[in-house]
């Protein structure tokens, strides 16, 4: 214990991040946070579709959603580069219609992170939607609630634990994203050089072990925090599947 006294000036200086390190951490949080905000509506729509709707080609959609989970990340990054680069079909469209460039920008890093996190998010939300008794929604409809109303008052609240877990899990996955990011949007300081890329760059330079250790420690702390939170939310969802029963009763 004496080894890690908080008032020891040496320990304190070792624990305090430099402005450069803060910038990397801030960028990582910004990229992952925006990736989650962008991915959530898409993940929820896909999860709902896969959980509740039968349609031809469902197996194919399911497989496509899971592709980023099983493909090598560099392949995902390369596909994104082909599609979203200024010469790619989607990239050219975005540039012409909205003036948006993703290549070499943090928004591109967020897109890569969102795509890589999507399968995990869809899985988590889908499980929680499948656990909702469809008769609750039907009951709401028979009581005069419209589709949107029953969705907002029954489906969404009951799927909340899954949605929260998806956010936290997706966030943790985004923080660790490396292969797709460096292949798609390069390793630009202040734009796309997130924690894993900064660690990779430091690893290329002999004698940078301290920098590597510090950044690695930061990413361990961030990821562990996110994972512990996700586990707690999952346990909450499992332990009280009817936890929002009072809500359903209201209708």
């Amino acid at each position: 214990m004496a080894l890690c006294r908080a008032d020891d000036p040496l320990v304190m200086s070792a624990l305090i991040l430099t402005p450069g390190e803060w910038a990397i951490v801030g960028l990582s949080l910004q990229v992952s946070g925006c990736a989650m905000l962008a991915a959530l509506p898409v993940a929820f729509a896909l999860a709902w579709l896969l959980a509740r709707v039968e349609f031809p080609g469902k197996v194919l959609v399911d497989a496509l959603v899971h592709l980023p989970l099983v493909l090598p990340p560099v392949v995902v990054g390369w596909v994104l580069l082909m599609a979203f680069a200024p010469t790619g079909p989607l990239g050219a469209l975005l540039e012409r219609m909205l003036g948006i460039t993703l290549l070499f920008r943090w928004t591109g890093a967020a897109l890569a992170a969102a795509v890589m996190a999507l399968p995990l998010m869809v899985r988590s939300i889908r499980l929680s939607i499948e656990a909702i008794d469809p008769r609750l929604e039907q009951a709401a409809r028979t009581l005069g609630a419209g589709w949107l109303n029953s969705f907002a008052t029954i489906t969404l609240p009951l799927a909340r634990p899954g949605v929260l877990a998806a956010l936290v899990l997706g966030f943790a996955r985004s923080l660790g994203e490396f292969g797709a990011t460096i292949t798609f949007v390069s390793n630009i300081p202040g734009q796309t050089a997130t924690l894993p890329l900064a660690i990779y760059a430091a690893l290329q330079v002999p004698g940078q072990e301290t920098a590597v250790w510090r950044l690695a420690l930061v990413s361990v702390v961030l990821s562990l925090g996110a994972l512990v939170m996700s586990e707690r939310l999952m346990a909450q969802a499992r332990g009280a599947p009817r936890g929002a029963g009072g809500t359903a009763h209201d209708v």
């Binding site: 925006c34 905000l37 962008a38 959530l40 509506p41 390369w78 580069l81 082909m82 680069a85 200024p86 010469t87 790619g88 990239g91 909205l98 003036g99 948006i100 460039t101 993703l102 290549l103 070499f104 920008r105 943090w106 928004t107 419209g146 109303n149 907002a152 008052t153 969404l156 609240p157 909340r160 949605v163 460096i182 292949t183 798609f184 949007v185 390069s186 390793n187 630009i188 300081p189 202040g190 734009q191 796309t192 050089a193 760059a201 690893l203 290329q204 330079v205 002999p206 004698g207 929002a244 009072g246 809500t247 209201d250």
Partner: protein, 279 residues
């Protein structure tokens, strides 16, 4: 009628205390989505930043030093992005708006030249590299790479660390040199293939391999290893780093920084890191 049902809906929303967070989240998301468009449309990433230079990972220390020197001349410091030359070249080929590209081999520069992604007159075979044999710093060994030199015996059953000869340029040059010296065939099964040349360097620095083949620049950067022999230039394809300005370049400082990298002042910096500047 419409407003009544809306009010009913809103009341119900408010009644659902436990899920207010969820609605808040959805609302915030929609708001952010709506505002994301204009935010992403912003042109320059950082106002006042220097030109964007995409460079081979092996240039990390030396190019950073050169950029610092350039910044000391009261210019905005260039933004340097380091990755594998192949990765960067693909991004430029896809239309990425970088200003300068510094490649560790000529092939990628050739492919960009063919597709018109670099300005022809700005291309330069800029730096030359040397290939060396290294051992841990404590080693007393001396090995002069001449045809048939006793490399296998010097390994004492250990492995020779080098970048993957099938996919990494440093490994490809290494195999050529070892084949030229007629020791490659005897080495079979005694190569520790690393995913890049710096990983091979680390294997020797950590004592996991008794010997390694890396660039002179790598050997100079790592105090835990010692250069014990240099491969003669004729034993492998010349190792040339190429520099060029891209056609997509828009930064007013791009050309000036490119010229600076070719100047005597920059040459002195790159020489210090083990490169041989070419004129």
């Amino acid at each position: 009628m419409g407003s009544l049902s809306f009010r009913l809906w809103a009341t119900r929303l408010r009644a659902l205390l436990p899920c207010r967070g969820a609605f808040l989240a959805v609302g915030v998301t929609l708001l952010l989505w709506a505002s994301a468009g204009p935010a992403m449309a912003g042109p320059a990433p950082q106002p006042g930043a220097g030109p964007l230079v995409l460079a081979a990972a092996s240039l990390q220390e030396s190019l950073n030093a050169a950029a610092d020197a350039w910044a000391r001349h009261h210019h905005a410091r260039p933004v340097l992005a380091f990755a594998a030359s192949s990765t960067l070249a693909r991004q430029i080929a896809a239309g990425g708006a970088a200003d300068l590209f510094a490649s560790a081999d000529q092939e990628w520069m050739d492919s960009l030249a063919q597709t018109g992604r670099i300005v022809p007159g700005t291309r330069a075979g800029w730096l030359a590299g040397a290939l060396v044999i290294i051992a841990p710093a404590g080693s007393r060994l001396r090995l002069r790479p001449v045809p048939g030199f006793p490399l296998v015996a010097a390994l004492h059953g250990g492995r020779l660390a080098m970048a993957d000869p099938d996919s990494v340029p440093a490994g490809r040059y290494g195999r050529e040199a070892l084949q030229h010296m007629r020791v490659w065939d005897a080495l079979s099964g005694q190569i520790a293939r690393a995913e890049n040349v710096r990983a091979a360097l680390a294997l020797v620095a950590r004592g996991a391999a008794p010997l390694g083949v890396v660039y002179a620049t790598d050997a100079l950067a790592e105090p835990k290893v010692r250069m014990i022999g240099v491969f003669p230039a004729g034993s492998h394809t010349p190792i040339i780093y190429a520099l060029a300005r891209t056609t997509a370049s828009t930064h007013p400082d791009a050309e000036a920084f490119r010229r600076f990298l070719l100047s005597d002042e920059a040459a002195a910096i790159f020489r210090r890191y083990g490169f041989v500047p070419r004129r």
